[in-house]
Structure formats: C-alpha cells, structure tokens
Symmetry: T
C-alpha cells in the first residue's frame, strides 16, 4: 500500500516562521512522523511539496499507476483551484484533504473548498495531527475496500 | 480522561434503515467500538442520543465538571442550531465535530455548519470510522494540553 | 392502508385563537373529519401533534413498519427543520406536505420549505380542506402503486 | 358552476413523448377524466391549451362573465410570466395552480412561481391526479363561498 | 410627426375591471384623449394593443419607415422581456416608457425594467395622465432634434 | 395653487460645467421657464437649491401649511437619503421626483431610489423638460383631487 | 397585572460559567430582582426556562387566559425559530424581546431576529438590566392601553 | 452626571404631523419629560436636534469633556451614516440608540443600523417611552462603572 | 439527414437595420448560405423564424418525427424562456445553440442562458459564421451517432 | 497563417484516463487531427500544453510576432484565471475558447468564464470536434479580416 | 500650481482623541507639513475641513477656476456619498483620494468607495504620510500633463 | 535597508504592447528608475518578475532574512491568489501593494483584492509613478519604525 502525501503552498515554511502560531514542528519532522506512522500501519509514503498549482496538478497525475491514495493539504489552493479538483477527479484515487488549522474558524473566503467536494473525507483543525488522522483514515478505507 | 459522545437526530436509526447506503452497523455497534477504542487509548466514554435540539443542549451543559471533551455528530442540527453552538461555547470544553458522510458533497444547505466555527476540529466522510478518528484526535489533543 | 397524520407546532391552538383568521374549526374537529374521510376511502388514520421538532422526528421514525404513508403539516418547522427532512428521507415512506394557508402569499422566509424537496406532493392554501385533499392524494398514490 | 381548465406550454405533448417519465396519459385523456370528475361534483368544465403566453393571458380575460373559477397548469410560464399573474389578479376569479411533477424537487429556477402569490391554492407532485385534486379543491371552495 | 402608441398585456381590460383601483377610463377613451392631445400638439397617433410579447416585438419592427417615435406601456413585459428591449434598440426610434401606477411602490420584481435602459425617458405614477405626459415629452424631444 | 421646486446637490452648477453633456441651460433659466409654465397653468412656484441633505429635509418640513405639492430633483441624494424620504412621508404632500438624465441607463447604484417609493410619480430622462412635465403632472393631479 | 418571563436555551447556565464575560449573576438572582422590580411597579411575574424550542412554544400558548404580557430572552432561538414567532403572533399578547449582550455587535447570523418583527419592542445590550428595562417598558405599555 | 440627548432628522416634527401615527407628544414635551426623569435619577440632560448629518457629528464631538454619555435617536441616519458611527467610536462615550417605532417591523433598509454596532445598547418600539428607558439604562450603566 | 434552423425574435431584421453593427447580410442570405452548406455536407435544412416564444415552442414540437436535429439562435429568448428549454428537452433531439455576437461580452442579463443547459453544444461570437459552424458540428455529431 | 493551439491543465491526460467519459482519443491524436485540418484550410498549427497558469500566460506572450491567432482550451483555468485573461487582452490576437464538454451543463462554478469576455468566440460541447470547429472559425475570421 | 486639500468628517479630532490609535499628530500639524511639502515641490495648498457632506460638495464646486487639483480624505463619506462623487466628476479636476488607515483591513462596508471610481488615484494605509504621498503623486501628474 | 520589488504576471510586457494605453516605459526602465529613487532615499532594491503564482510565493519566502520590506504589483493575481496573501502574512514583512492603473475604475472582479487586507498600504492609479510612491512610502515607514 503506497500513499502520496502532498503539501501545498507555504507549507515548506512550517516551523521556520511564526512558531508561536504554527508550532515549532517543521515539514521535515512532519514527514518523518508520517513515515513512521505509515510503517506502523503497514504502508509506505512518498512526499511532494510545491508552491505551484501546476506542479501539484502534475504530481497528482503521476501516481496513477503507483499510488493507492493521496493525503493532500492544499493550503491556499483549497479555496481557488479548480485545476487540482479536476486532477483529483481524473485520477480516480481516494484523496483525503487535511488542514492544520480549523479553516471554518477563519475568513469567509476560507470556508469554501474546491477540494472537499471530490475528496473521500476532510480533516481540519487538529494541528499536525490532522495529517496522522488523515493517513490513518485513508489506510483504513483502502483496507475496507480490499476486504470487500 | 472521560469523553462524552453525542449522536444527533435520526442517528438512532443507523443500520436499521437504508443499510445499502449507511451500512449495516447500528448505533449500538458504533458505541461498542468506541468503548473499545477509548479503552485502548486509556480513556472512558459515555453516550447520549437525542432527536431533540433542547436535550442535546442540556446534555452539553451537564458534563461540565465530569467530562474532559466531547465528540459530537450533530446530524441535521449541524446546519440549523445556534443553540448547540452556544452550549459548546459556554461549556468551554474541546469539542470534535464528526460526520459519517462527506457533507461537502451534499446539498448546498449542508455546506454551512454552525458547529465548525466553535469546534476544535472537524472530521467528515470516513463512514463510522469518522467517530474513531475524532475520538483519537480529541484524546491526542487532551494529552498534548496536559503535557504542556 | 394505514396513514399517520402529523400536525406541527402551534396547530393545537387551531380554532381557539384568531378564529376570524383561521376559522372556528378545532384540531379535534379536523381529526374527526379526516377519520371519516379515510373511512370513506377505505383507509385508517392515526394522529400526532407536537410543538417539538425532536418529537416530530421521533414520530416519523416510529411508523416504519406500521404505516403506509404520512400527511404532515409541518407548520413553522417547514422553513427551518433539516432534521424532519432527514427523518422523512430515512423513513422511505411517501409523505404529503399540507398547509392551511397559501404559504407562497406570506413572508419571504416562508417561501423556502425544507420538506417539499423530499415530499411526494405539496398542497397549500385550501384551508382545512388541504388536509382532505392531501389524504385523498396520498391514498390514490398508494392504490396506484399497489396496482402497478 | 363553470370552471375553465388552462394547460400551459408543452402540455399538448403529454403522453406522446417521454411516456417513461410523464406516463402514457394524453392531454385528451386528462380532459376526459376532468369532465367526468366535474360532472360527478356537479360542475362543468371547459379547456384551453396554448404554447403562447399572450393567448393564455387572453383566455383568462375571456371567462370574466362566464366562469366561476380556473384551474391552471402554467407549465414553464409559472416561473417567468408576470403577464399571466396580472391577468389572474385582474380577473378577480379564484385560481388553483397545479403541477404534475413536484416542482420543488427540480432546478432552482423552478422553485420560484409568479403564479402562487395570486392563487387560491397550489397542488404539486401528484401526477395527473394533481388536476383532479385541484378541481375538487376549487369546487369545494366555491361551494363554501356560496354557502356563507 | 407620427407616433405609435403601444399598450401591453392586460391593458385592454382597463375600465372594465377593478374600476375602484384603475378608474373607469377605458383604453378606448385613453386613445381618444391621446388623439386629441396629439392633434393639439401637431402630431398624429396610431394605436396597438396586444397580450403577446411576439406581436409587440413585431409592432415595433413595423413602424420603421413610418413613425417618428413610440410611446409604450409595456405592462407586465416591462419586467421580463429582453425581446422588446432588443426590438426597441434595433428600431433606432426614440421610445418613451409609461406606467399608469407608480411601479416603484409595488412588488420587488416590478422594480426592474428591461425597457428603461433603452428608453429616451420614463414616466410612472400619474394615472392615465402618464400617457399624455409621455406623448408630450416625446413630441418636445422630436421638435428639439429637428430644430438642432 | 403653490408649488415648491427643490433642486438637490450639484444642480447649482448646471450650465456652468460640462455644457456638452448637460446643455447650456443654467438653473436660473430653468427656474424662469418653470415660473412661466406655472403661470400658464394657473399656479405659482418657489425655488430651493441646496447641496446639504439636512437643508433639503428642512425645506420639505417648512412648506407644510403653505404649499400644495413639491417637484424635487434629489440629485445624488436620490440613492442615499432615507432622511429626505422620511421628510416627504411626514409632509403628507404629493411629491413628483424628476431627473434630467435617464437614471436607469447609468451605474447600478443609481438604479435604486429611496424617493420613488414615496413619490406620487417619477419622470426621468427628458432633459430639463423633465421639470416641465413633472410640474404639469403635479398640477393636473392637484386639479383632479380638488374636482373629486 | 401578570407577566410571564421566558428564558431561552443556555440561560440556565448564567453566572455558573464564564463569569468573566456574563458576570456572576445567576438566573435565580435575575428572577429575584425581576420579582422585586415587578412588585415595585405593581405587577406580578412568573418564570419559565427551557433549552427546548417546543417547550417555549408551549409556554407561550399556556398563558393565554392568565398573563397580560411576556418578556422573552429567546437566546439562540432568536435567530432560528419561526415556531416561537408563530406562537407569539397567535397569542395576541404584547411581547418584549430582551438580550443581555448587544447582539448587533456579534456574528452576522445573530443580526437577524425572527422575533423582533412580531415584538412590541426590543432591548439589547444592557446586561441583566435589559430584563428590568424590558419589564418596565412592558408594564408602562399595558398601563397606557388600560388608560386609553 | 451629564447626558446629551440627540434627536436626528424629522424628529422636530413630532406631534405636529401625523398625530394618529406618532401620537400628539411634541419634541418639546419629550424633552420636558426627559429633564424630569433625569432629575429623578440624579442626572442632568442637554438636548440637540438637527436634520443635518454633519451637525450631529459635530454635536457628538463637542461633549467630549463635558458629558458622561449620549442617548441618540438617529432617525433616518441610523441606516445611512457611517460618519455618525465614526463620531461615536471616536468620542469614547457610552451611547444608547433609541427608536420610537419598532424598526424591525418596517422596510428592509431599516433593518440595518450603522449605529447599533458601536452602541452600548439599543431600545426600539416603546413609543416615546423608548427615550425614558434608554436614559434609565444609560444612567444605570454609568453608576455600575463608577461603582466598579 | 434533415435539420431545422430556428431564428428567434428580431432576427428577421438582420441586414435591414444597423448594418454597421450586424453587417449587411440578411436572414434570407444566411438561409441561402446554410442551404448550400447543408447540401455540401449531405444534409437538408428547413427554416423557421418567429418573434413569438409560443410559436417557437410549437415549431420545436412539430419536427418530432421529421427532423434529426435543430440549430437554434434563440435571440432574446435565450435569457428568459423556460418554455423553449422544456420544448427542447421534450423533443429529445440534439440541439445546437448559436449566437451571432459573443453574448459573454454583453450585459449581465445576457450571460445566463436557459437553453445552454439542454443543448448539445453552444457556439457564440463568430458572426453569421456561427450558424455554419453550428450546422457543421450538429451534422458531425449525427454522423458519429449513426456510425456508433 | 500560423495558429497556436493551447491545451490547459489536465488535458495531457485525455484518452489515458476515464475513456468511458472523455473517449479514447489522446491529446496527441487531437493534435494530429488539428494539423491535418489546418493544412486542409491552408494554415499551420503549433501546440502547447501546460498544467501551469504562469506557463500558459508566457505561451500567450510569446506568439506576439509569430502567430495570427490562438485556439485555447483553458480547462480549469477558464473559471479562475484573470492572468490568462490579461495575457489575451494584451496580446491583441483573436482568441477562440473551446471546451470538449458543454460547460453550461456542469457545476455552477463552471458557468463563469474569465476568458469568454475577451475571446473572439466560444465553442463548447462538441467533444474533440470543438477544437476543429474553433480552428475553422478562427481561420474564417482571419480570412475575412484580410479580405476587408 | 494650486492644490485644495479636503478633510472629511471627524478628521478635525485627529491627535485629540485616541492618540494611541491615530497618533498624536493634529490636523493643524498635518496641514503645516503639507504646506512645507507643497512649497518644496513648487506648489501651493489651501485647506478645508467639514463634517457636512453638503459643505464638502460646495468646497469642490468652488475651486473651479482657481485650483489645479484636489487631495481629499473623504473619511466616512467615502462609503456613502454619491453627492461628493458627482461633485468630483463635474469639477473635471484630477482628484487623489487618501486614507490614513488601510481601509481594506476594516469592516466590509468600508471596502466600497464611491470616490475611487472617479479619482485619479487612491492611497491608503500609510498613516499621515498618505497625504504627503498623495500630494506628491498629484503634483507629478499635473507636471506630466503640462509637459505633454 | 534592502527592498524587494515584485512584478506579477504580464508586467514583463510593459512598454512592448499597447503603448497607447500603458505608455512606452518598459519594465527595465521602471526598474532603473526605482534603483535611482532607492539610492536617493538611502536604500537598495532587488527585482523579481514572474508569470507564475507559485514562483511569486517562493520569491516572498526567500527574502526572509535579507529584505526589510516588499513592494509588489501582483497584477492579475491581486484578485485570485490566496497563496500570495498567505506568503505575505507568513513573511512578517511590511508589504506595499501598487497598481499602475486605478483598479477601482475597472471590471467588478478587479475591485476585490486578496492582497490589500494584509498589506501595509495600497497605491493605485498613478501610472508607473505608483511604484515610486510605494517605494517612498515603504522606506518612510521603515524609518519611522527604526526611529521608534
């Protein structure tokens, strides 16, 4: 079972800026934790981060034959990208959308997600733990499908 | 660590109707699974189900001194109840909102949640596993707070 | 053929208040007339009135095995209750929505019905006769189904 | 007691096209059934069908001295015709609006009716039986008025 | 100087129905008064009334070579007809829009006019005198143009 | 018969600026023409111009006992002044709203008038002739009332 | 003179939670103060608190013959309950709506009240003193009516 | 304790016009009653009335050093004046907004108040008694502050 | 292969008015060109033009058994006619919507088409060539269907 | 005559995924067919595909001196890219917007195109034939310009 | 080169109130700094402050023959005054709109400016330096015009 | 003091296209002028231009340790990029938003800026001088901070 983890724009700065808000955990540390969690759950993870909408679209096209599912934190593109939505739709893969902060507590324009409507599930507000819960939920889902 | 699980309106019918859609798992079985999961994570859970908005408000007021957090599936009241929102705000407890289906794939009026804006986090779309992930996320959060 | 008639909030006051507007017919008299009409059409009716959204939801869950259909005047909950909508959906029963007054002649917020979208049919504006027409339409529908 | 039945645009094609959706009943058969029903209820009916908004306006102007009420299925003009609304208002006659399908289950633009706000009552969703219920409701209403 | 006067839907009923609201003046009497007024101002008027949007469009196309301007009371089509708007635009003639009642005091949907944006001027609320003022304003305008 | 003519903000600049757009007629010349027209129609006119909303409100309060009606070009306050609307309502006088340009051809925010809903009638788009037509319409109206 | 005081959802927690925000005054203390104030003004008060919309509707139906007026703090139901609005309308009693906080300073969804449109008057923002002012205003109103 | 009472546009006409609607009480009589009420409550009041938004802004700037609070009936400027809102904000004084009629029962554009969001509290619908209740509420508030 | 070409309101004036805008090509010349084009593509075309919405509805009903598809330029009815939309739906024929000008560059109310949602395809902005492209696209589509 | 064909995001996956929906034709095959069609029409085509908004902007800037026009299928950027709109505007080239599916039959957010308002023409819904019709329409347009 | 500087409502209180927010600089000091800056740039400045919309309109009308341009901080009238917009339009002078705070960071109703659409340019958020930058930008613009 | 100047999409074409609109100044010449201006004000500038949203995000992340502030003309991304907004927020640097044209005079969708809400200040409409004023304003701001 192979999972692709996609981190959207500005997430490469995690832990480097505003640690009082986003905590001191860096993206590298999140990835290390996800690798460990995946191993524990009998799966394998790869990582991709980009500030570019187009590169994220391309990264979703690539795993077609290789990956069984995707965990994505689309960052700011959550609210503006129809292209990522279309890429997910066209991939046919189960995709879990995760957010570190609870986006429903923020500005009005962050209440609308172009991704949620094509995602398997959405997890928002648990800090970096949102990634772990999302990975866990995706793997459980893939197991369920295999067993049915 | 004591957690209250609240099930909103119509969730008492789970597994009894439309099994082809919502699966054959009954609310009793979900509660059994949650009890097991809680035990595994070193916590204890109590359950409350009601079709009445007022009773759900009262159930949130009750745990004040006893419970450390709440996992709630507000069902249809998600979209219409300011009273439950106010009860959560006033309880001061961390509350996790869960949904069995992915509400962002459904009718327009289900896209607006009065609860998300006062919840710690939101989990939607993982079937009955949404409850497990929510319980897990809440317990992790309570541990983090205790440790900091 | 067994039909449940549900009267929503404030309908228990019919005939007791504002007779110049709503007429002098009480809810008891409406129920008597419906019983007679049902008998004439070869059916049987039961009645339920509540001011509570949650109790109406519960009343819709109960008839599952017993009733063949429901005639509901959801009163003010027409415009605010997603929970009653969900209960109807989950019951799988044919439901006819009736209103004594023509709701489309009233305030803007009364133009939106959460119930109409899941009802078999809607009848509005014929005074207490709306109930008779609704009962009649529901029984005709049940006969058609049985015969096809 | 004389009633005018008005059928709006495209209703002349009933039973000829898409019988799997609208059934095999033709407009002629509906009219025959309405004539019988009217006779049974001690009334007399005339019929008018047109695809033209202007002709429907004119048909409502004509009955002024002759008819006691109108049953109208305004079809697509329900949602766009202020002219038919004005004709009804100016006729001073009681008008019942009927729809074969439940328009509240359809596209957003079909949720708004220019006619409902000036109708005596509205009946929607009972198939061709909507006409029978509408005729019945109108005749009951005319009797009530005569008797008071 | 030749002017076409167009009366929209339902205006043929003026004076025949609801005289307590619209007065006892018939459309024939309005036309007689307009003929007299036109004569006094050195112009000549023709009349056209129709309940059909299409016929009104055609009547605007016809005068192309003959008439110097149009006074139109578009009635209910004021709020719904892009076709009449287009016909006016394409005619290149100065058109004055008149209304017997003050449409800005009425329902919300009557506040929007598709015609006003392509009219020379708009007169609303002076009863049947709106026609006289409109004819007068149009003739003054045509004189001004001729003299400049 | 005494009429007050009120000119709103910026109208004092008529004929002094942008003559290519608004023509070369000054406010003084308009007033002279209105005086002549009033005399011809057997009435008397007074004038008031102000750039201040408050002064226009006060001017409407003053005529209470003296004037029979008001012709007002509220200029920019048409779209923003509830205070002038209230003053008109409270005066109980018939008020005619006039505009030199056709405001329905202009920016969206000029389509909404706070005045039209409390005016006897509205005249828009006839250049300075709008004032003459408005005066004429008001005097006709006052005559009609006196004669009935 | 007998007045019913109704406290909506979550108001039973006043003074028990978040005293830094809502003050240390409990609902019991408010009721005691209201009883004293009423006595001073020559009236008598009864109290009702519920978290349930349906029970509040029923409480408004009950006083029909007994009470002269109602002071209600509808809490969260202010913004969502058409049923309470209908109950007030149907009771025919003068009703004063009060709020402890100034609801116009809060979230957008709290700006809309279904109750204000059927209330005699509204008082918002004076802390628990809103109840005293509301009681006072209601009694003054009842005196005025009696004296006229 | 010194309080400034501000009366907005058109309120100078109270009791002089439309007595059947607004009652026969003049602004002078209201001020006399307020002076008496203030004396009874151990405070002193000054009065200011203007039809001009700018003068009301200036009147709010003036009391800076002298007054302890303001009771304002902003009349029509309630719905249109950001300038008065800003003056209140900048004054730093507690301000009570009062309305004679219940503005929530009136036109849509009267539902939005630019003042409520910066007021201490709002009182609407108690006739001229709204002023007395507002004065009372303001003085209570000032006492509370002084005592804490 | 037989195709019906429908021209909506005002298109009969093409080439006769405003040639500087719409070009000098008349509707007759367009039809001649379409006949030639159809012949070249092995198809046959018939033509219908009307200013009346109802006649266009009827023209769509007629071809039922005869035509294989329709090319329609609905003109102004594009934006207002649910009746034409319903006629197309009910015909079951593939329909291509064409516009001479690019409607997406024009007024806001021209951005909404009731027809596009039920059309096979839409072509807008190529001048009279839009008809040729539309005919071509329809014939290709019919060939594809026949071959599969 | 040289034409640039631009394919937006996700179009590189055509024919590789979801062949049951989008058909088995790959982007390569579309390009081959366009090259042939162009040759037949006496023109030459180049191709550009990118998932990146910025690269598409750059591709439109490049052809400035070389290309005579552009055919673009902006894919998901149709609905979100002001940058591509600006690039088209600034290029001064005639641009034809094409879509394989009929976007007016899809989600609401796909009804708004930032491109249509600056395009020569729009073609939507003819499958891959939309490209052929668009190329054809563009070449005809360029010929017309050259000949006039 | 002569420039008029206009300060809108409440700006006369700058430096006197809330110095912690708006700084300690008074309007007099701003004017002194502007005079110096203007001198340095070879221009001359005059000043006008008013809380009255009407007086600001009049101040813009006055400079007609004297001033070369205007720098205006319209304060609260930015969001509500069509009259000031019209005065600017009619003056034909280049006008620079400045704001001390960044209005785009504030309440929703402050995001809309009636002035920006008729201004040469807008500067917002640089504290009192916004005036200096605005003066500078206006003088540069006037130089450019003179030199071209 | 080191400042980064960022030019958004299509700005690389300045001076090369549509010189009659945007002037003949190229981006290179703007940069040269900015370098000179910066030197004169005792600062140093670097430049970055990209058509790609992702690259602009990355460019804002880079300067973290090096630059004291940013002047950005986000071009079309002003209206669509939440990602650039987030990058600015996360950088913690003061950012000045500049626009060559006055965006408030343009299409509706250009009235909304995702950047203004997180910018220090905004300058729009002064042609290429907007950059100079923005640089100047930013440097003044940085000096003020250093001195306080």
């Amino acid at each position: 079972m192979k999972i692709l983890i996609i981190h959207g724009p500005n997430l490469n700065m995690l832990g480097k800026r505003e640690p009082e808000i986003y905590g001191a955990t860096t993206l590298g540390e999140i990835n290390t934790a996800l690798t460990a969690k995946a191993k524990e759950l009998g799966a394998e993870v790869s990582f991709f981060q980009s500030n570019s909408e187009g590169e994220i679209v391309s990264s979703i096209q690539d795993p077609m034959s290789e990956f069984d599912g995707i965990v994505i934190n689309p960052g700011a593109y959550t609210h503006t990208s129809v292209a990522i939505r279309d890429a997910i739709l066209s991939s046919g893969l189960p995709v879990v959308e995760v957010h570190i902060s609870n986006i429903y507590k923020r500005e009005d324009f962050r209440q609308k997600s172009f991704i949620s409507g094509v995602a398997l599930g959405v997890i928002s507000g648990f800090g970096v733990n949102s990634y772990m819960l999302g990975l866990s939920g995706l793997i459980d889902h893939l197991r369920d499908i295999k067993n049915n």
